[in-house]
Amino acid sequence: MTDRAGARACVEELYAEHHAEIYSYLCRMLRDDELAADLTQETFVKAFRAYDTLLDPARARPWLYQIAGRTALDELRRRRLVRFVPWTGESRGTDSSAEEVALRGRLTGEMERALAALPERQRMALLLAEVHDLTGLELAEALGVSHVAARAVLTRAREALRQALTVERARTAVAEAERTLRGAPAVSRPSTLSWRRPGNHREERDDREDRG
């Protein structure tokens, strides 16, 4: 009984520390906020059940991601979620103004859609590596594969994302063009070139960092 009580306590600790990132990860994996909440809950229940398998508490984070990832994959397979579902990537209940939402949606919408177009394991790898900052062995553990395999998945994922983003930008451009032709108020956005902004921004930041 002490073991279970201890496991419960530890899982609660893990929850307090990691539930937000796990939830965020699952949101992007599943593209469904409510389902993500359910699976977050399930992830921690599974963590409680399987707590004995966590040999090194220091590695709890990739372990949790692995559980969450498997849970998500199972669910995706079960539900056969259709990709390309319009999903702005914005959570409900955000307190931002409509303009902010629109702006952020424009910047991240293409990325979210491109991510959604990736095969699940590639999406997992990219999210874990770039959004959740898992590296090397952690990434491999979270993906449940070897170090080498994890890097291979990530490599393929980067190329796939690049291509998917290209497709998404082309779609946006076509949509903008159609809207303009129909006489709708033009949106002041050079859609096909929009990617340059974050790129330039990055370089400025990099410069600053270099100087600092």
């Binding site: 201890g6 609660e12 409680f48």
Partner: protein, 736 residues
Amino acid sequence: MRPAVDPHLPFRRLLAERLDGVLTHEDTARLRAHLATCPRCRMAERAYLRDRQLLRRLTPRPPPRDLWVKTAAALDREIARWARHAGQPPHGARTQRGRRARRSESPVLMLSALASFVLGVAVVGTQLRPSSRMEPPDGPAAVLPTPFDVPTQALAFVELTDEGLAIYQTTVDRACPPVAIDCAEASTTRRRVVAAPGELTAVDLDLHEANGHLALLTSDDLGNDTVSVVILPGVKDPTPAFVGPLPSDGPVAPVSPPLSPASPSGPPDVRPPSTPASSDAGPGAGPEVTPDASPAGTAAGSPEAPPSPSGPASSSDAATTAAVEASASPGSSAGGPDGSARSTGAPSAEGRSSGVGPSLAVPSTSPVPPELLAVLEDVHVVGARPAWSPDGGMLAFSAMPADASAGPDVYTWRAGDSSARRLTNDSLSYFASWSGGRVVVSRPQSMSDDTVIRASTFVIDPGTRLERLATGDGGWLPAIDPSGRSAITWHGELAAVGQAVAPVRGALSMVDWRAIDPFSSTIPTDPVGPAGQADGSLVTAAPGAGAGATAEAAEKSSRTGPRRGERGERGERGERGERGERGQRRQASPAPVASSLASEPPASPSLLPSTEPWPHPVPVEPERDLRTDPVREWQIHWSADSSAFGFWVTETPGAAWGQLAVLRVDPSSSSIDRESSLLAPTLARRSFTLGRDRVAWVAPSEERADGELRLRTWGSPGFGSLRIRQFDVSTGLPAF
């Protein structure tokens, strides 16, 4: 023909790998050479960097506020499941000795759950609430520990003290997020004291909020029960301050003398209660209300003053027709105190001296404070707890003589009655619940042999005493929801314990009460029940015929009882006697002289639950294993709108702690909504209370061995929690 391989792919791979680590010297040189000549791969490199940047700009998504609640509930369920399946000793190891050792203790399950619970609380307290200063936890998804408003509902807390019966009212209008339960305190508490004899222990209560009728089940040091009522004006409105004496008081009637042990076998009371004149004309008509019949041994219950003949008559005239509010008029209450011999202490005397009743609206002067009126004393209350009818006008309960000389009967009391009246006379009736204005009674179909005792359900109209057998299997002690749609009941094995029966092994399930209620259909059912039971003659019996049949049944049971006792094993009987101390008799319990037999059914191979069909029973706890964790005692409360029910269960008769859960019922399909339980199974003491959108119970506490009062709310703001510390839960009971 094989597709052409993109010659750039190996370099894209190297580009990607370079983002995530260091390439070998050789790969770096190859890549550099290629990039110098390939603008497409240079573009790809820029794209990778840009995409990474975009990815990193994805904002974290804030989790919903109720995520922790759901997760904690899921963890609790997991723990409960684990405790049931893994945390219990093997079934074979459950010896009688083992049970005996746990008699006064919480069972192993409870201890394990307690340990995990306490640890869980500690961890939540330290992790999610890093300091007692209620700082928000780190992270973007922190739930701020600020209280939020919930609909106002008063929580009463009733405690027997040396001064009398203390009734507290706490206005609960806000709650905390469950992870920060201490972010708020309960609002102001008002206290009033009702004259009551000391040295009693409050066991259970039922408060009818709308008209302030409070029924209290108390137990004395000998383990004898008393059912008392008190009428509290103003309970439904928690806002007025209760300062000093109260504006008006409930009807005060003389206390009934103790129930004579011989009375159950005496002449049955067949007078229709709908004719108040006749019942008032003879306050001593029934043997149970004849003062002379009181045995000397029950001196504690002897009145200090003889009942005034005019007192009960006047109050009864005013109130017998269930005009409860009218009975609270100054005139009737002024006439009462003379007869209220049971009450002691200054408040009563003060009331008498005040004389003339004031205007009802003025709270300053009061002729008589409300006081505790014992309606039945020196009995063992069995079956479901005493409960008010939906309109609050009538109280029903079942009790058997304290000396276990006869089985239980159902009693009712309404405002103006001097004492509880017997509704049944068969010594085999257990009060289950109310079905609208009718009393639902469970009866064992037989007491005579060692086969499984089957249960029948009867519905009795207390006004006409018309009684009908249920048209389906209502299980044992069905608790019908206020809408009359469904009921939570118990199915399983019953065993005879002296003159009473006790649940041995079974579980709770939900049944469709509409299919069972004999009054819901237009045509009365066949007098002989579906199982061909012998006591079918009781169905739709006129009072006279019913009395004859029940007398026969009582006689039969009185004959069979001792015989069963003789057959019991000696050693087992002794052990049973020790175990049958306080608390054990709460639920269809044995009397002190009760013998054997309930402990272990004689290895009966009967199936569980009984093979008799019933309309779609839905297990309340599908995971429960009847073999290892049979439910043997339980409490069920429905919410007033029938949308939820709370159930408290234990496998150990007399256990102080059990498992409490609150489940939602889908109103459209009358099915249990297990996905969104309102309170996941949690360790709790027996007495809990369910309000409109909240439940209050006594939970284990790190600080106090007796536990602490907890509150959980649900509704649009999500789940809320509150810890109410100002009450002594060791001596008091909560009620909404």
